[in-house]
Amino acid sequence: MSFQFTNKPGIAFFDFACCEGCQLTVLRLNQTLIDLLAHIKIVAWREVMTSENSDYDIAFCEGSISSKSDLERIRQVRKQADIVAALGTCASIGCHNALKNKWTPDHMRASVYGDPHFPADVITPRPVAAVVPVDYHILGCPVSTPELVTVIKCMLTGQKHQRPNEPVCVECKRNDTLCVFEKGLVCMGPVTRCGCNAVCTSFGDACRGCRGLMEGANLQAAVQALTADNRHSIMMRCKKNYDLSENDIYEKFTLYNHNHTEDIKHDRDQDSSSHPG
């Protein structure tokens, strides 16, 4: 896809089921956002401006689609915009919203509202990218600032954005961060697409995979490495600390990648049933 703008393109922000933290990250571009205003005009941004204007070329969409009215709204946005960007993990791959897919809307409504039919307009949540074609995926929970700026530059100059396709481990090594497995924690870094500068591991946490799996990631192998009997002593420590079964590890890997891990789990179950023993 390439699209050249002759005038300042109109930009709009839309949000669906989410925490709006990615839009706040855009607002936190501070001076960079002010500088960008020389090249773009923001025509609609409900969270921070009042505007009747719907003359936009580029739509940033944050959040997951989780109601019928969301479906209508996102289709309308797609019709109007030349470029649609999925802003953040909710819009791109579903984030925690997708975790709900193991329950029915009726069950969730009954648990939270005590009424399986209230509110009426609830559908199984799905990322924006599952409903309409998306031109740019900006990953992360929340999105990372340098990547956000790079994507905006690509949009304005009609270029594709080449998403990094290396694991978070690469950035950890570059930052000289102690491997999370050394600390006996389960880390999703080896199968997760980098581009966040490994922020979570830099601050002592594990990677939980918020930027989604990188292309060709072998999740099954990652899980097996953590559970197989002949595993590395480092992996043994994870097992010892948390007493994790293969399913527990899958559960950990579903936090942000529910849809993807479900596919793999399904394949695995099929494999094991067709090859007994």
Partner: protein, 421 residues
């Protein structure tokens, strides 16, 4: 009768709808509906490991992520009897102040501010008032930077874990905040001067004011649950006092305590705890004509300015305290072990009292979760105030009426996607 409405109210967090039914006689009925799609956090947290519960919990809200994180951590620590160190508490308070500052500045300048300056967005002032825009950006950024320094990031905090922090900042990364916080007082002083010039609508809507209350300090991070009806109770018993209910026009729940409606947030805190504010904050309140008890909901924004000053002053005090004592780098949180139990964590999020409650099994898996959000608690009171306010606007054109009522909704600084969660 005619029906007029604002479909998706602007300059608020999340999706809310304002509907007015106007009679020919001029009488009107106002309704504020939360039309946000529920995210069902209370369901998706079930069966999650406690470390993941606290990880996910901050994702309820991008603006008040630290508040949600702290409420979830406190609930979990209470359920499992996990102790925290003094250093951890100081660092959490610093992150907390950073969040209150950035959230309040977002509201004061970016969301509510444009109403008083008659502009569609703060960025409209880039050419005419560049210094004002820069000041807003500077103050908001300072709040975020404080969170970054101690928690790795504001949205969403990384280093805060059950029992402590997974990372400890170097002294040299905290030291610059001594100057930054000191200099911010000048920007806040300018903010006070700016708001002295703004005439807010004069509205009096007395109600029940609810907040945390602490014997030693102006409560944000901790305290008992207090109502202006004169009652103090332990937050662990919140369910015995605060009752949530469902209204058909809203995906967020409503709440009551002594009265069918009550207010939480900056003005409720100010009314309940004003005598514990820092001296500069108290002086700002006096300059801005804010006196307790204040019954004007438009003064929520004013109370937020006063609280910003308090946050900056007290953060400076806490940063100095940490630097003087020296930061214990060995205090990095190692693995804590799970224990069964139920616990409640309550904090004063920027928009008011926030409750998280979790029950865990012996492996630390979440059995049930309950979140009570400030904006949801405010909804009943907001609708009552909207109804009162419209009475003064009987002669106004439809457009003006909606604009004025929208301004009142915005004064409450609703965090709507949070309220639905």
């Amino acid at each position: 009768m005619t029906e007029i409405k604002i479909h998706h109210l602007t300059r608020v967090e999340g999706h809310g709808e304002l509907t007015v039914h106007r009679e020919k006689s001029g009488a009107a009925r106002v309704r504020f509906s939360v039309v946000e799609a529920p995210r069902f956090f209370e369901v998706l947290l079930q069966d999650k490991d406690f470390r993941e519960v606290t990880h996910i919990a901050s994702r309820v809200c991008g603006i008040c992520a630290v508040s949600h994180k702290c409420a979830a951590l406190k609930a979990t620590e209470s359920a499992m009897n996990i102790p925290i160190s003094t250093q951890t508490e100081i660092m959490r308070r610093i992150a907390f102040y950073g969040e209150v500052l950035s959230s309040h500045i977002l509201h004061i300048y970016f969301l509510a501010g444009p109403d008083f300056m008659n502009i569609p967005a703060l960025f409209s002032l880039l050419d005419s008032e560049p210094e004002l825009v820069q000041r807003a950006v500077r103050l908001k950024e300072l709040g975020y930077a404080l969170c970054d320094a101690v928690a790795g990031r504001h949205t969403h905090p990384v280093a805060m874990t059950a029992g402590g922090f997974s990372f400890v900042p170097a002294q040299k990364n905290l030291r610059p905040f001594k100057d930054k916080l000191h200099n911010a007082m000048e920007d806040l002083e300018e903010t006070v001067q700016l708001f002295k010039l703004i005439r807010l609508p004069d509205l009096s809507c007395e109600t029940e004011y609810v907040s945390l209350k602490h014997p030693d300090h102006y409560a944000f991070y901790d305290g008992d649950l207090y109502s202006s009806e004169g009652k103090t109770v332990s937050v662990q018993t919140y369910r015995d006092h605060i009752t949530e209910r469902i209204e058909a026009h809203s995906t967020a729940k409503y709440a009551r305590w002594h009265r069918p409606e009550y207010m939480v947030g900056a003005l409720a805190r100010f009314n309940n705890n004003h005598d514990q504010l820092s001296p500069k904050a108290r002086s700002a309140a006096a300059q801005l004509g804010l006196q307790a008890p204040c019954f004007n909901p438009f003064m929520i924004t004013t109370a937020q300015i006063v609280e910003c000053i308090h946050c900056v002053e007290d953060s400076l005090h806490l940063v100095n305290l940490l630097l003087e004592k020296g930061i214990d780098a060995s205090a990095v949180q190692s693995a804590v072990s799970a224990a069964p139990g139920t616990g409640v964590g309550a904090v004063e999020a920027p928009r008011g009292t926030l409750f998280h409650e979790y029950a865990y099994d012996d492996k630390g898996q979440c059995l049930s979760a309950n979140l009570v959000i400030p904006t949801a608690q405010n909804l009943g009171n907001l609708e009552k105030d909207l109804q009162t306010f419209q009475g003064f606007l009987a002669d106004a054109d439809d457009d003006i009426l909606l604009q004025q009522l929208g301004m009142l909704v915005r004064a409450y600084d609703p965090c709507i996607s949070c309220s639905t969660h």
